[in-house]
């Protein structure tokens, strides 16, 4: 069976786009072939900085013949109908149609249309240029003289050549005949930009099929497979580190990027002056990583070493001496800059050290003053960064009170939380925000809990990020997120669909994790209402709503629903099905996330027991009957059952059990002992089962029937102490 080899050779493709481009190429081509009935045995796609390549193995040489029978008019039909039939079926005369007779319909014409399978080569020639022309690059461009014309070809960078060969292993493959954007497909590729010539490939290299393509590229100093390049880099880097008694600080993102910057990885080690190690290790790493795309190394004790790993693209005759020297020079310059920032940030600022109102301030406080003075805007409707700091301080004070953190430290940390935004270091490396605040605060003698909170208040940043646990950190982390959420809610900038430009979902998840992982009792609605910015409230007065007997803003309520949605996603990932969560949330007024989760957990545990399953079935049965009968009667049976009307032993027993279970469950819920509440409900299983076994609800006596329905409502009501069982599936 023949194979396809496709290579699109261009100028350097951004590293971050290569892997996705290879995957896209594979799925677009294979999907197009499958759509035309061409199945294949296997496919793979690869990328280097200068090419994306695709191999599809085991394609048929020719597509399957298609035979279609098309029913026509009956024999002797009017000429117009016959002509229409001929035209539609592509026949030139009615003699070419067959006559079929049918006992019911009589004789009629049938056209048999046989489409011979199209040669795969032709299909490829038709499909490939279209895919290439419409390739989904994140950003693409026009180039060269052809770009003067409208509709000119676009590619990620100028496209120079295309290899497209098709054929079986035993024969000389054919070139798929097509052109796109002025490039005609052929069978010539190129090796490494700088080393191919020295390896004996000064010009274009002819290839036949995938096997010899990979092999000849390797001879021409190109390793096609990104993962192999990554493996080489990682192995070499570890070896070089090991030889110096050091350990590589691994960095998957950087590794992937670096592997996308070379066709032939050559790993080298450079060094910088020991004195730079006085700079915080995160800064050194950020500098070397972001600017130089190099790895850092650590010593046995975990401290950074004054060495770095660089990955070059050539084997140089001086064993890389010049390359290392060049990289060292740049790393040195970068670290000098970083050290300059580090030192400058810890000194009073020129404009502030002389001003009467600021000269007494510590350096970090001066940066805060600068942030305020700059009137830099947080969001045009939510005021300046300075105003935001004031809100954070106020909110942190309230949250500290609610969760029992030290209010003085929490408000101090909230005040300084954003001060590092005006430091030189954070200006240069925005990803170091928070961390630099911690370093600078610690250096000027702030309480260690305050310093830690400056770093931690941004956390957790993602599902895998660490959640702060220190009370002061937790307080400021909550304040930061809740201020953001309440603010954007108040100005109606809520996330929609895939759009969440202010990362509000992440902020809400952060709040959820902070609350749950620290076992915090936080009245969310109240705090969110506190967090609503004054200006926004004035700008758009909201309709008040009722929440747990209190009047609150509609934004606080709608924000609570957003938290509930996020909580569902979070709990689903932990193995709780959405209906359990709905069953608890639908009780209403659930703004204590910790209690919601405890209820859900107890409920899940209960429903995993035989008692739970059976009770659930009973409650659902009761609810179903009630729903039907209440609808029929147009009446509600929520009132308590009348003890004097009870007849059967089973209903008497249920009545007694309901009273006891409900009382016990409600008392347990009040104690927040949800396990206890479940145990209380479990006692209902026997009486409920016995009741349904022995008692006819729809008795002839109307009073008796109504009382029994009230008894059923009692079951529903008793279980509502913990959740709305009717919402639970199964």
């Amino acid at each position: 069976m023949p194979d396809l080899l496709l290579e699109l050779f261009s100028e350097e493709i951004p590293a971050r786009m290569q892997r996705k481009a290879a995957q896209d190429l594979q799925s677009l081509v294979t999907n197009a072939l499958v759509e035309r009935g061409l199945l294949y045995e296997g496919a793979g796609a690869w990328a280097t900085p200068r090419r994306i390549a695709l191999h599809i193995a085991g394609l048929p040489a020719v597509g399957q013949d298609v035979r279609e029978e098309r029913k026509g008019p009956r024999v002797g039909a009017p000429d117009g109908a016959i002509q229409g039939f001929l035209k539609g079926a592509g026949l030139s005369s009615i003699d070419q149609a067959q006559v079929v007779s049918d006992p019911k319909k009589g004789e009629f014409y049938v056209a048999v249309i046989e489409k011979p399978g199209q040669p795969t080569l032709d299909v490829l020639a038709e499909v490939l240029p279209r895919i290439i022309q419409n390739f989904p690059w994140p950003k693409s461009m026009r180039w060269g003289a052809a770009s003067a014309q409208p509709g000119a070809m676009r590619w990620v960078r100028p496209l120079h050549s295309i290899v497209a060969t098709f054929g079986p292993e035993t024969e000389e493959p054919q070139v798929v005949p097509f052109s796109v954007g002025g490039v005609t497909a052929g069978n010539e590729t190129r090796g490494h930009r700088f080393m191919a010539k020295g390896a004996g490939f000064p010009g274009p290299i002819q290839v036949k099929r995938f096997d010899d393509y990979v092999a000849v590229l390797e001879k021409a100093k190109v390793i096609l497979d990104t993962d192999r390049r990554k493996d080489i880099i990682l192995a070499e880097a570890r070896n070089l580190a090991f030889a110096q008694g050091l350990e590589l600080v691994e960095d998957e993102g950087l590794l992937e990027e670096v592997a996308g910057l070379v066709e032939w990885p050559v790993v080298l080690m450079g060094a910088f002056e020991e004195e730079f190690l006085a700079i915080p290790p995160e800064v050194i790493r950020a500098t070397i990583r972001a600017n130089q795309k190099c790895f850092v190394l650590k010593k046995a004790d975990g401290a950074l070493a004054n060495r770095f790993i660089l990955v070059s693209n050539i084997v140089a005759p001086d064993r890389g001496a010049a390359i290392i020297a060049g990289n060292e020079r740049v790393v040195r310059a970068r670290l000098s800059d970083a050290r300059h920032f580090w030192q400058t940030d810890q000194r009073p600022m020129p404009d502030y050290r002389e001003r009467a109102d600021t000269k007494h301030l510590k350096p970090l406080e001066q940066r805060l003053q600068k942030l305020i003075d700059s009137r830099s805007v947080f969001h045009e409707k939510l005021g300046t960064q300075g105003e935001r700091v004031e809100r954070l301080v106020e909110l942190a004070g309230k949250i500290a009170l609610a969760i029992g953190a030290d209010g003085g430290l929490a408000t101090r940390a909230a005040r300084l939380a954003k001060a590092d935004l005006t430091t030189e270091m954070v200006g240069e490396f925005p990803e170091l925000q928070g961390l630099m605040g911690r370093y600078y605060a610690a250096a000027e003698g702030e309480d260690p809990r305050v310093a830690a909170a400056l770093e931690d208040h941004y956390k957790p940043l993602g599902p895998s990020d660490r959640t702060p646990t220190a009370p002061v950190s937790v307080t400021v982390a909550l304040a930061d997120k809740l201020d953001t959420l309440a603010g954007f809610w108040a100005i109606d900038e809520k996330p929609t669909g895939s759009k969440d430009p202010y990362a509000l979902r992440r902020a809400a998840l952060g709040v959820i994790r902070l609350v749950l992982e620290n076992d915090l009792r936080l009245p969310l609605v109240e705090i969110c209402q506190e967090a609503e910015p004054e200006g926004a409230k004035r700008a758009a007065p909201r309709m008040p709503e009722e929440f747990a007997g209190r009047v609150v803003s509609s934004d606080a309520v709608s924000l609570l629903e957003f938290f509930h949605d996020r909580l569902k996603v979070f709990l689903r990932d932990q193995g709780y099905s959405h209906d359990l969560i709905d069953a608890v949330l639908s009780l209403g007024d659930q703004d204590d996330l910790l209690l919601v989760v405890r209820r859900v957990a107890a409920l899940k545990q209960f429903l995993d027991t035989a008692d739970g399953k059976s009770l659930l079935a009973g409650v659902k049965r009761a609810a179903n009957i009630l729903r039907i009968e209440e609808k029929k009667d147009g009446a509600s049976y929520d009132a308590a059952a009348d003890a004097s009307l009870l007849q059967a032993d089973e209903e008497k027993a249920l009545f007694t059990a309901l009273g006891a279970a409900r009382e016990a469950a409600e008392a347990a819920v009040k104690r927040e002992d949800y396990q206890g509440a479940m145990t209380a409900l479990a006692a209902l299983r026997g009486p409920v089962d016995a009741f349904f076994e022995a008692v006819t609800v729809n008795a002839d006596d109307a009073a008796l029937r109504a009382n029994r329905l009230r008894l059923l409502a009692g079951i529903r009501e008793a279980t509502r102490a913990i959740a709305d069982f009717s919402r639970i599936e199964g």
Binding site: E11, E12, P14, A15, R16, P49, K139, S140, M141, R142, W143, G144, A145, A146, S147, A148, Q149, P150, V156, R157, P158, H160, F194, G198, L261, V262, Q292, K293, C294, L310, S312, N313, I314, A316, P317, D318, A322, I323, A325, G326, N327, R329, V330, V331, A333, S336, D337, H340, S374, R375, S376, V377, E380
Partner: protein, 308 residues
């Protein structure tokens, strides 16, 4: 020691410039002199901004002194300068072998491509004030960015048709690399030795000190705000006055000069720290509006390819 040794790019800063001139002249470029106005980058030279627009082929190379007031460090930083030189090459349409030409130019100035690791690292270029963007790379030599390589897609808000290729060499950095010098002020400027040697510091250190003070401390912000407003008004007036009844424009280039002036006044105001973050955006937009209008006017001139 012969004169030609002195003008080797490895020996002198000026030798580097002369070598690049010679290289790009051979490729058919007109070798222009710097534009006689204060600009932030070589791209602002009308030989790039305006000539990148319209259908007419164009090849040019020139040195452009560039001013970035906020980068001033009073002569104390070994790399950062508020005034420095860019070597600018523009080829419209870009030839298919522009990358090879660029690499050959590096070889011409003494970078041995077998010994040094040259890489094209993604860097999409955008100039908010010029309403321009393009795709391309930072060109790295042993981990140091020595050039910017851009395929212009849009300039002054107008799609480039055809696309021009732009190369920008950071001359000081490149010279430091080729001469093996750690501090920009130590660069040998003229290739002389002993008493005959003139360094980059001899030529520019005092200027860096004085202009840093000017940029950060002494530039009169009221005057600068006035300059900005004057240039903006003059630009608009010229754009209006130059528009002829037959559809052509007769004052596109003088109008663009005023756009450059406004841009530089903005840069100085920015360095003085008197423009807030929100205002900053609106100033950038105002300059961009001027640039776009100038680009549109240029397309109505002969140079911009308007039919006679």
């Amino acid at each position: 020691m012969t004169g030609s040794d002195q003008s080797s790019p490895k020996r002198s800063f000026q030798g580097l410039i002369l070598t690049l001139h010679e290289f790009w002249a051979k490729q058919g470029c007109v070798i222009l002199q710097p534009y006689d106005m204060e600009v932030g980058a070589g791209t602002f030279h009308p030989a790039t901004t305006l000539r990148a627009l319209g259908p007419k082929p164009w090849k040019a190379a020139y040195v452009q002194p560039s001013r970035r007031p906020t980068d001033g460090r009073y002569g104390e930083n070994p790399n950062r300068l508020q005034h420095y030189y860019q070597y600018q090459v523009i080829l419209k349409p870009n030839p298919p072998n522009l990358q090879e030409l660029y690499l050959a130019s590096l070889e011409a100035i003494g970078v041995d491509l077998a010994l040094h690791d040259v890489r094209f690292v993604e860097d999409d270029w955008e100039s908010p004030t010029l309403g321009a963007w393009g795709l391309g790379w930072e060109c790295w030599c042993d981990g140091m960015e020595v050039s910017q390589f851009t395929y212009f897609q849009q300039v002054a808000g107008v799609e480039c048709a055809p696309v021009a290729g732009e190369l920008t060499y950071g001359l000081e950095r490149l010279a430091m690399y080729v001469q093996g010098v750690e501090r920009v002020y130590d660069l040998n400027f003229n290739g002389g030795e002993g008493d005959d040697k003139v360094t980059y510091g001899d030529v520019f250190l005092q200027a860096e000190q004085e202009f840093s003070a000017f940029n950060f401390e002494y530039a009169d912000t009221d005057i600068l705000f006035r300059h900005f407003a004057d240039a903006e008004n003059e630009c608009k007036r010229l754009l209006e006055a130059g528009a002829r009844a037959d559809g052509r424009h007769g004052l596109a280039m003088p109008a663009y000069d005023q756009c450059i002036k406004a841009s530089h006044a903005f840069n100085l105001l920015d360095a003085r720290g008197v423009i807030s973050v929100t205002e900053r955006q609106s100033y950038i937009l105002r300059v961009r509006e001027l640039a776009k209008a100038c680009g549109a006017a240029w397309l109505r001139t002969e140079g911009g390819g308007a039919a006679a």
